[in-house]
Point group: D2
């Protein structure tokens, strides 16, 4: 199938590579063009503009940093929305506000194309290993077309959250919030244990081989146990933006979320201190407040 | 081996049954004697007092509600500590303050016996299925004697946390705190999703088959998704006591724990409202504050 | 002086009356025209549109509910900004985002007029008694013209916060936050005292005649002590909007504000429960969580 | 009247001096005897032990650091309780748990004397200026005897909180909590204002001459505005103890207090960082988290 992929960060590049390996005819675009070189070597065509990238594509994936970047990619100068073929599908993978995808979906519908929200869960390593978890929400027919294509990106089939594209983003935001809560819980537990005379490492190993024997606890817990937040998978400012979107939804729907407030505030303090760490490094606020 | 088991609540009864099934010679004691009847039928001897229960026992297990009950069992009227044989081992399973086991361990040592802290993780069903997770801390020789006996109670071998018996209780407290954090995180996420138009049940199913595919998320998450907190595995007041112990440790060691404060406060509100629910029912505070 | 007053809610009507009593020639406008009748009887002219109201006015006061209302009043259909005389001054009294006044100030400047942000502190009773506290920020010359006019509205002279109109709104937001914090502090203290066996009323009287002998503690504390939040001075949704603006500023400038989060969440729960009470009624969340 | 004063810290020395100046015959005791020298010069008798200090005294004041110190003073080696004359009155001024004074009051009653809880509000300067606020609770007759004596220590008459001596301590704890809340509120407001471009000092001056024109806001607010927490009126560890007592009462009576949790945690972090500042220095946690 003829597919376009726009946005070649760590996540996007890995996903695009998997689509290429699955035999699709791929055209790629990235704002910083040099990032497209590896994919070009693997056989992808490199487009000079978003609009050019989607020429004749049946499906256009987008994976960018935030709402403004997605909006610009679609409807800014050389944006791809006007260039999409009739009936083409935009698989919108970025972590954005539910309303951003809802509003863009309406613009696609007016234009004769479809936006399906397809956020993904997983780190860049999981993307490279085609082990992402996928969800999707939007137009019924478009989702049916998309489903087999998405399968080469993740483990299991994409979970369908119905016709409202915003619903898929709500799930993505809930997931990132729950990850943050797991990190903060480990930070408090490991710090308490350490100051009570135990070794962080042993506490980590015990929990992640018993009650919390789960990849997300293992991978983030390792950073918290070692108090070493390198390399930077996602910067604190990026996930702070996600938590801001969580709190925005919570405001709109009048849902007090005390845990979300704490995670957001710790991410904010980490941003304010200008630390160059992975986002899980907000866990250091707990250690600091305990005088470690 | 000749073993005594003191404290036959839901957890204790299931654990005692497994020891009996493993071929040990068992004497049991419970404050309310009628609870001992099923074990008596299976071949256990029923003792009239704690002191009587431990006559000739090589190992005495205790599993009671709180610090005061454990203290009374050991050194109150007819308490078993003075009656323990020289060299006998007390496997102290209750969720109590680290210092309670530390202080009792010293009393055992003066008396010529050993206290090993052996708290367990798991619900009564896990205890019945011999699927508990076990930890132990205390005297080296006593732990070696205890290890094979503990193996019939749980999955895997007991994790050893060193010579300080209090260390095992710190781990237990950390674990209960982390469970509470997972419940609160799901409560906030599911409530946000519901008020954003999604179905709690679908959100629950997605997360517990992907990122949070883990028994503790599945079992507690089901209660939170259905907003139905029956049957009562552990009452809110019991786990509120555990979180109080967490915050006591945090005070002693000067560790600010914002998540623990929130869980404790929600448990307190649940106790104040006199709700007859499982402890996970504190998640309803989130739903209420969102007007559900 | 020829003055226009737009927005005749409880606050606006009282302030307009004082301007009229001070001898100014007043034209008034309100979306719901009937609210203008009392002022008309006192000698004010009633305008049919915002634009008509400011004809020939040297100063136009605005006092409306939120940012959207202020924006509409200025630049919506029949908005008054295009109708302002060259050099005229807009005294912008509403509690809005600092950036709203900053942006509007630029529009005024382009048009040849001035916006001075002049938020006020005090309840409608204080407005009627000319006992408001006033602040102002904006163009130097405009503030000098405005100062004597503002004096008839409040006690003391308006405090000058410099040339940035947004600064005055920051102060207003900080003030409303601090009021909310005082209310929450009393709610916690009075509830603790009551559940410890003391009488809320005596606790209230002691503190507000000694350490906290201050009108804001007395007036809001009376509501909290009596747990009776009538009449409605400002609805929870209104002040929730103010706290939202506080948290928006805190996001923009990366300032974790744990107290502000708690006040906002309690106001949200009060809005979610659809209670018809004064905004201080968020204090009931404390009583409820204590089982009262 | 023959009066004993035990505990000559900053507060105690100032109070004892005022009693002496009022013409009372004073015997004083302090663990570190050298602290008694200034009072001796003014005419006080210095006792070598607590028991000796209260010989023939009609009233014995105590003002010490915490519950353990008070208990030791009363019933430890050379403790004064057994030495009190029949019918003598112990005016217990320390900030201790309500139950500590309740339990001691029963011991006094058995012995034939009276304990009246008489905590005071105010800094050492206020004590020196006889401007403390006083409360009292306990035996009716003893309070009547005490009232005129207390009058030389403070402004106004002592507020009577009934026969339960614990009630007076509840009030004292509520007061210290409310002071902490005012400090935290100013810390958040001043930090937000500063990062929004305003000057902390001007914000402080505005609020403490208008809405919050009150000595407690002025004195603590000055420290927060200047971010200079010297000299040390009371160390963070002392007031952390008070907040711990607040949270203990809140646990006992099942009252969630989110503001109290935050203040306690910030004080804990300040203790963990070993800062040599006045207790109001916990406000620095807000500044730090905002990257200042």
């Amino acid at each position: 199938m003829k597919i376009a992929f726009l946005g070649l960060g760590n996540m996007g590049e890995a996903m695009a590579t998997n689509l290429l390996n699955a035999g699709h005819e791929l055209t790629v675009y990235n704002r910083t063009a040099s990032k497209a070189a590896p994919l070009e070597k693997l056989g992808a065509t490199v487009a000079a503009t978003p609009a050019q990238a989607v020429q004749d594509a049946a499906i256009a994936f987008s994976m960018v940093t935030d709402d403004a970047a997605l909006q610009a990619l679609c409807t800014g100068p050389y944006g791809f929305l006007p260039a999409l073929a009739q009936g083409a599908i935009h698989a919108s993978c970025s972590t954005v506000a539910p309303d951003t995808n809802r509003r863009l979906a309406e613009e696609h519908a007016r234009h004769g194309s479809h936006l399906v929200a397809t956020p993904v869960f997983g780190k860049p390593e999981a993307a490279a290993a085609a082990k992402l978890w996928l969800v999707m929400a939007g137009d019924e027919g478009a989702k049916q077309t998309l489903r087999p294509v998405l399968e080469v990106l993740g483990q299991g089939s994409a979970q369908d959250f119905g016709p409202d594209p915003g619903a898929a983003n709500v799930i993505k935001l809930c997931g990132n919030f729950m990850l943050g809560a797991a990190i903060q819980a480990m930070a408090e537990a490991f710090t308490l244990a350490q100051k009570s005379g135990l070794e962080r490492q042993q506490v980590y190993e015990f929990f992640t081989t018993t009650l919390f024997n789960l990849p997300v606890y293992k991978s983030y817990g390792k950073l918290v146990a070692e108090r070493h937040y390198q390399p930077v998978g996602a910067a604190p400012a990026i996930i702070r933006k996600d938590l801001r979107l969580v709190l925005d939804e919570a405001r709109t729907h009048v849902v007090p979320m005390p845990f979300a407030n704490i995670i957001f505030d710790q991410l904010s303090a980490t941003v304010a201190k200008k630390e160059d760490v992975d986002w899980a490094g907000f866990a250091e606020r707990v250690a600091e407040n305990a005088g470690l």
